[in-house]
């Protein structure tokens, strides 16, 4: 699972959880896979993501080297930084690990690079019992 995906995941479909973001992340196995660098996509993505959550997640799995704690406004011109962000967003992949709901503490295992977000029926809101 890429950190970009982590930045898009929430546990707010669990009954009683309102925000469910960002999910806590721990890893026992991380791989870096090469992905073509597309600066336009990185810039566009940065407008959507929650940067502090990305920074925290990268830090938690030990891949925050070279990432600033806060983003400056002039990221477009700074290609070196864009490449680092590209690496953190798309190339670093958690293969084995765990996601944790910040509110309910519910754990979602990550196995073979796939986060398991399946819930039991009674954990979900709005579904008939």
């Amino acid at each position: 699972m890429k950190l970009l995906t982590h930045n898009m995941l929430t546990s707010n479909i669990i009954k009683g959880v309102t925000k469910g973001f960002p999910l806590g992340i721990t890893s026992t196995k991380v791989e870096v896979k090469e992905v073509d660098f597309n600066p336009a996509f990185v810039v566009k993505t940065l407008t959507k993501i929650d940067y502090p959550a990305l920074y925290q997640a990268a830090k938690d799995i030990g891949y925050a080297d070279g990432l600033p704690e806060k983003l400056e406004d002039n990221i477009k011109e700074n290609e070196e930084l864009l490449k680092k962000l590209h690496n953190a967003l798309l190339q670093v992949e958690v293969i084995e690990g765990e996601l944790v709901c910040p509110e309910s503490g519910r754990k979602f295992p990550i196995a073979n690079g796939i986060p398991n977000m399946l819930l039991q029926e009674n954990e979900v809101e709005n579904v008939a019992q």
Binding site: T5, M8, L9, I13, V35, F41, I114, P115, M117, L118
Partner: protein, 277 residues
């Protein structure tokens, strides 16, 4: 989809798509080709801005065949599926997108306003089933569509290719989608052919009002033609078999069904001479 019968009737998706079934999606070239064509059409119906890399969601992504089409078009995608076997195949195939194991009927565990578009190939009909005692299809659909509406950015589209069993299923799906706030409707490609016929539920999420794209092979199907046809039938019988008119009509019919048809020429249906004995 399996060649015979409806897979929805055999077992829930997470059980039906086991390792053997999942393996078909990498070895069966016919299945791969169908999936690819459907995905290409769905991507076309999404009408994304040109030359712009987008962030897309693939619901029921399976082994990532539809995702490959998105990758080829330079988009980044995330897939969600309920079958672990299919997702394992996807990871083995080294797909570019990220995949999540999840049940769309429980809602999408994703942040609001994330995606520039959503595609889904042959997955939505699974929502019509109640695989567990506590499942209510109508409620699961509504939960799904509500979270979907939140997940895609305003003015974007969600295109579902689906195989509904009957019109009641289709009606319920559309009704629940509208209840969640979507506009849009059904697009049918090649409506005159039972084999080539394909249905796409095209949903719009807010933004400026958009008109529904037309289905393929429907150009002839305007009411004028239908009227003409009944009129002609009244004052003229069916053309004589193997006459030129009969051949032309047959070819026209095949074209409407989207089947392969030789172009018309001066030789079409012409009598062959020189066979005197």
């Amino acid at each position: 989809m399996a060649a015979s019968g409806r897979p929805e009737h055999q077992a829930p998706p997470e059980i039906f798509y086991n390792d053997t079934e999942a393996a078909k999606y990498t070895s069966n070239s016919r299945m791969i080709e169908i999936q690819q064509k459907l995905s290409e059409r769905a991507l076309e119906l999404l009408a994304l801005p040109e030359d712009e890399p987008c962030y897309l969601l693939d619901i029921g992504c399976g082994s990532g065949l539809s995702g490959d089409v998105l990758t080829d078009a330079d988009h980044t995608w995330v897939g969600i599926d309920i079958s672990p076997s299919m997702l394992s195949v996807a990871v083995e195939r080294e797909i570019e997108g990220d995949v999540i194991l999840g049940d769309m009927g429980c809602g999408l565990p994703l942040i609001a306003g994330t995606f520039d578009g959503v595609i889904s190939i042959s997955a939505l009909q699974w929502l019509c089933n109640a695989d567990k005692k506590c499942h209510s299809p109508a409620k699961r659909m509504l939960v799904f569509f509500r979270t979907l509406y939140a997940v895609i950015s305003r003015g974007s589209r969600a295109v579902f290719q689906l195989y509904p069993e009957n019109s009641a299923q289709l009606e319920l799906l559309t009704q629940q989608a509208m209840k969640a706030g979507f506009t849009g409707g059904l697009i049918v490609d090649f409506p005159n052919s039972s084999k080539a016929k394909k249905m796409f539920l095209c949903l719009f999420c807010g933004g400026a009002p958009q008109s529904l794209p037309q289905g393929l092979g429907t150009e002839e199907a305007n009411p004028n033609v239908a009227q003409k046809f009944t009129k002609r039938e009244k004052d003229k019988r069916k053309p004589l078999k193997s006459s030129r008119e009969w051949i032309m009509e047959k070819k026209e019919r095949r074209r409407r069904q989207g089947r392969e048809t030789r172009p018309d020429s001066q030789y079409t249906g012409r009598k062959r001479r020189g066979h005197h004995f």
